[in-house]
């Protein structure tokens, strides 16, 4: 098992490298280099530009040298925990990203758990009771949920809560707790706010997962081993849960690989609409003002988050499926 995990971790290295190249490309894409943009920015505000500072910056990022050198200087910095400088905030990127990324990771994780908790039982019921009322309702709802963009759900929710209930649903904390130290009350307050983004972000993927679970289980339900287990006298409920569901669970676990990227994408948009203190609004702001080191850091980190998620799903899959573990 340990060897299996180590192998998987080693297998992640090329993907991590590719993501870093991608993030670096995004940093490099806008015309003009970072320091000239920075200089222009400062000049606009009417302040004097300190040429020593600029030269220092050029040296630090290897500007003017070839792209490979710039890449290695950038990635080398990251290895030491230095993601570069955000010129818009005039702060090191490191100070800006971690808190926000932490929130994004937390929200994504909670959404993932919620999604599984919801889609697993519904998927099972709608497969076992195929063509029943529940199945039709689920199917209709699933189609609808995949067709509605997350941000639209978020706005409609905002609209409804404001117009009908007179409460605002934005943010993740009440103002009173925003800067309060960690406490149980703060956690409760967080959960009170967090269920809305979790619901909105998870809606589409929950629907998709329910469909997948249903399809997987329908495939399994008519396999010979189910019939064989029935022939030995197992009660139907126990039969379904211990045999076909157990097998259908394996492809279900491996859906993390594509659900997580979708979640993070959804989180980005929804947090912008709901104004959450996560990576989304900051990344959007950074991109609009071409604050590229900040944006690059976010893209790199979201990619990393997905890789970690995929690793976890691989490990879970190996635990759950002897065919993978033993071959």
């Amino acid at each position: 098992m340990l060897i299996f995990i180590l192998k998987r971790v080693a297998g992640m290295i090329p993907a991590m490298f590719a993501i870093s190249i991608l993030a670096f490309t995004v940093i490099q894409l806008p015309p003009g280099d970072y320091v000239s943009t920075y200089a222009a920015q400062i000049a606009q505000t009417g302040e004097a530009v300190d040429s020593a500072v600029l030269a220092n910056l050029r040296e630090r990022y290897g500007l003017g040298e070839n792209v490979a050198v710039q890449y290695f200087k950038w990635i080398g910095g990251i290895a030491r925990g230095d993601f570069g400088q955000s010129f818009e905030w005039n702060q090191p990127v490191t100070e800006l990203v971690w808190g926000r990324m932490g929130m994004t990771a937390l929200i994504s994780f909670l959404t993932l758990i919620t999604m599984w908790a919801v889609s697993l039982p519904i998927g099972i019921i709608s497969a076992v009771r195929q063509y029943s009322v529940i199945d039709y309702l689920t199917t209709t709802f699933a189609f609808l949920a995949t067709a509605v963009p997350e941000f639209l759900v978020a706005i409609v929710l905002l609209y409804i809560s404001t117009m009908w209930f007179g409460v605002s649903v934005g943010g993740l904390f009440s103002p009173a707790f925003e800067n309060a130290p960690f406490s149980l009350a703060k956690v409760l307050d967080f959960l009170q706010h967090a269920w809305i983004p979790i619901l909105v972000i998870g809606l589409g993927s929950t629907a998709a997962l329910t469909r997948i679970m249903r399809a997987n289980l329908l495939d399994e339900l008519h396999k010979p081993y189910v019939e064989a287990a029935r022939a030995k006298g197992l009660p139907e409920g126990r039969l379904v849960l211990t045999y076909p569901v157990r097998v259908a669970l394996n492809p279900f676990i491996s859906t993390i690989g594509w659900v997580l990227p979708a979640l993070i994408s959804g989180e980005l948009i929804v947090s912008t609409v709901l104004n959450l203190p996560t990576a989304g609004p900051l990344l959007l702001q950074a991109l609009k003002s071409q604050d590229m080191y900040l944006a690059g850091a976010f893209i790199l980190l979201t990619g990393g988050l997905v890789l970690i998620g995929t690793l976890i799903s691989d490990i879970l899959l190996a635990i759950s499926d002897p065919r993978i573990r033993l071959s």
């Binding site: 064989a228 006298g233 197992l234 045999y243 157990r246 002897p322």
Partner: protein
Amino acid sequence: MSDETILKVRNLSVDFPIQKSVVHAVRDVSFDLKRGETLCVVGESGSGKSVTARAILQLVAKPGAITGGQILLDTGSGEVDIVKLGSRGLAIREVRGRRIAMIFQEPMTSLSPVHTIGHQIVETILLHEKISKEEARKRAAALLGRVRIPEPEKALDRYSFEFSGGMRQRAMIAMALSCNPEILIADEPTTALDVTTQAEILSLIRELQRDRGMAVLFITHDMGVVAQIADRVMVMFRGEKVEEAGVFDLFERPQQAYTRALLGSVLKLETPAPRPPRPVAEKPIAKIENLELHFPLNAGFMGRPTNYLKAIDGVSLTINQGETVGVVGESGSGKTTLGRTLLRVYDPTGGQVMYWPSNGEPVDIATLNKAGMKSLYGEVRMVFQDPHSSLNPRMTIYQTISEPLRTNTDMTERQMMDRVSELLSRVGLPPDIGDRYPHAFSGGQRQRISIARAVAVRPRLIIADEPTSALDVSLRHQVLDLMRDLQTEYGLSYLFISHDISVIRYFCDRVAVMKNGKIVEVGDVVQICERPQHEYTQNLIGAVPRPDPRLRADAPQ
């Protein structure tokens, strides 16, 4: 043998509604099963034999349903009608696995892939008996030992995918027997297995039945298996019972026309067909020498392969003009691969395949270039096993048969149409069906179309890869007779690949026996079938169930 009846099936009917109509899968079928006897239910595909077996355990798949009749099980304290028990609830579950157990056709998929063998057997025992887990485990290990699985203790903790097909079927049997059922239903339990494995499983079932005095309901399509294990036989056709008789009576004095036809087509394959006369001086058409096809195993991304799968491992074989050479072997012996390698579907990794074309010098197919192969495709042709997958469903019959004419001749469209009509009549089909698609034809008809495609360009050598295996037994000799007629007409040579020794004996002049990519024995077909020299061939021939109950050890003199 006790005469006590344990199961009475009375007027059983099972219907499957489809779209707007209903298929009567089983119609008004009645029979008795006595303690300690083996009743074989035999029939071709679609005869309703499997559905009958499933109905007894209330396992008919939806939307099918039992629509009438009784299934009366003697429980020792009176009769229970299984039809009335329904498909759910405690009462039917007490029957399943406890009183009546079942084993299935597909040993590869009938065991759960994510549970250990031991878990699945122990679960069955604990379902029906109040004993401790340890005791159940002990009994499971004993059962595995009884079905002759080596190291039963260790086998308990292994998964089904770690076993071969035969071993899985043994485990399946162990599971079925775990609660000492009074009836064992076996639904084609050996169909998916090789013939030597089949022989072992059959003798195991027979032995266990004698030990325990179980009644066995054995579903099969194979008359050879019937002759070997049945006490009584019930013949089914299109959902109805045709005839029921003791096994010796049935084979000697079949009463119904259908039974006679079925037995006739089986027995026909028991004697070699008359062979077309051949020239006295043998002239080779193809000579295979030390042919090898090795696939690298465990090859890393760039690294060297550490091992090779030797699919063909030094095969030498000569096919003479006008001759039919059979290749027989079990699954994984490399016989299909050999056929395909001869036409370079796979490129051989060593050896030679000399071929003597109609005009010109012999060529080595193993190293022939593209242009050379192109000129060869018209002379050496192939017929495939599965007539469903070898015809493109999206092309009409005319398009399919004319394709080789288009690429290998200069015929005009008009000439091709005439030729295709002529070919269709030649293979026994109406000549005007060129505009139809394959889905309009049955398996036997499709195989005739495949043969028409193969002979369209007047080939000299045809590689026939199990051309009759996917067909019901009543169709087999018809297709073989057609192939033999064509052989006489065109002066064809055949390389005939099959796992079925009776088909080989019926059709071939010489036969090569293959095992693990090697030929273990070559010789005249009569000599190989009657006096096999090699030990493997002896086992193989000995394992083939002959459709003659008089050959049984317990046959009355």
